[in-house]
Symmetry: C2
Subunit: 348 residues, 2 copies
Amino acid sequence: MSTDVNRRILLAARPVGEPKDTDFRLVEGPVPTPGPGQLLIRTLWLSLDPYMRSRMSDAKSYAAPVEIGQVMVGGAVGRVIASNHPGFAAGDIVEGRTGWQDYALSDGTGLRKVDPSLAPVSTAVGVLGMPGMTAYTGLLTIGQPRPGETVVVSAASGAVGSVVGQIARIKGARVVGIAGGAEKGAYLTGELGFDAAVDHCAPDFADRLRAAVPDGIDVYFENVGGAVWEAVWPLLNPFARVPVCGLIAQYNSVGASEGPNRMPQLMREVLSKRLTLRGFIVGDFADQHAAFLRDVSGWIRDGRIRYREDVAEGLENAPRTFLRLFRGENFGKLLVKVVTAGSDRPRP
Amino acid sequence: MSTDVNRRILLAARPVGEPKDTDFRLVEGPVPTPGPGQLLIRTLWLSLDPYMRSRMSDAKSYAAPVEIGQVMVGGAVGRVIASNHPGFAAGDIVEGRTGWQDYALSDGTGLRKVDPSLAPVSTAVGVLGMPGMTAYTGLLTIGQPRPGETVVVSAASGAVGSVVGQIARIKGARVVGIAGGAEKGAYLTGELGFDAAVDHCAPDFADRLRAAVPDGIDVYFENVGGAVWEAVWPLLNPFARVPVCGLIAQYNSVGASEGPNRMPQLMREVLSKRLTLRGFIVGDFADQHAAFLRDVSGWIRDGRIRYREDVAEGLENAPRTFLRLFRGENFGKLLVKVVTAGSDRPRP
């Protein structure tokens, strides 16, 4: 949509449980003008990621919450429209946490230039961006898969999970993906070359998972939590590693979970099997960015890593599109295309 | 007790919940004669350790269970009485898993010579043995305490916990010990130099613990599980490390634990605080034995590590003494003195 208005989507209320339309508010205002040292960015692609749910909450977390009335947080790919910053020029493609809005001002902090020759620029918030680097660092640094080991990943057709599984295959592991529904399963074993896929919506999910890992599980890359985790942990092998990356099944839950309390059994497994559980976020491994970009862009070029995008059009659709993540409705990296080709220059 | 009879304590039944007298059986037989390549060991000191409870059960664990009718497993310090093994001579002091019996035959496997000049030989199953090395390896390899950090250890006056706390102090950390009762607490802050002690028997234990760690917890060395763990984990700091060494509060529990299910909250903490939980046993770090012996014997000589032994007399008292571990009644490293001085040579 061509516009000389800056539309911004604000956090209107802290959601209880699943976010609702009324938790967001779309406001319009003038396109801002960059001051000294600033640049103006036109948002091209908006990334929708599970972590944003926790920023809507004021529960203690690794990052400060979005305040009520602030622009919703989010990574985006944009084009520099005007720049008073020596490091950026009009026309540059950039990636940064510029939020749910048509235009963003930036002083360059946290912004990086995207090389459009590597891959389509939308990948800068996908397979070559935060989700891809999350997969790369968490799997290789914490999971450390070895040839012949069994790696299981949940949310396996998503932006992170699909990269986890493919890198694990490249490292010689046997890979089992957990995803919802037959279509995603077929994609995992067909297009992405996973060794097996298990549908977590099946009523006998736990049995199917057990059958799919006859040698147990050496690495479990956790994106989901909840019932999936409860089915996974009894299958972990001695010395298994569990990078804890996300818990999307739990993000909207309210209050305490019904018993029995499974904690004592988990601790017993941690001890008797000498398990490692480790939570992380991609920022913990910022020093691996160059290695990540080199390796994963190479694997994309070689056809060893494939990716799939699930694209909604129009900034105004960001809230309802975001909710698809929590219903498992997205299929691949979830994006909002904010401008269509040719319409991304503001009228003067 | 001088004897030419070999008394052995066998596992008579698999305990349900807390072990009972009838789960053990004392039998008498002749002192065995070493065959080719074998040696005969007179047990001097028998070590009683929490891990033995899991060997009495046939639940899956890192080690095979003791079979019904077999001698109870256990580390011991003994004197070589006769040897047909080139590596050992009569008079040598040795340490190994020779079990709950007056005399043991060995082919030398898993046996190590003890240097009596380092410290009293009973320490070979204590501060300079398996418990001390468990503390050293788990704390330094997994816990990695840094100067100024807060380290909390449970079962803090025990064989492992007391060494954990003292090494953490040597490494410059602030150390808080959890133990049962005022007497143990006074020992921790007095004799051992801990910065604070918290009594887990106090009805307001969780509040006291919180007050004792104003800067949160960076390393929690887990020996206990159960209610202590539930009070600890909400206090863990970002990037905290949790070496999971033991769960003595849970070893005798039967069946599922009452709800609510705390697992989802724990996983949320693991993620949002990027915690590391890692189970281990001392055998995982066997390559650190020389470093352990060098460092800890040096710290004992310098007076920087102290230890306390809780000694029962007589092999026949091993079963009832063992139970004191689960009631928190031991105060220091729990040992059975199997022979008294001068009575440790068999009549010919």
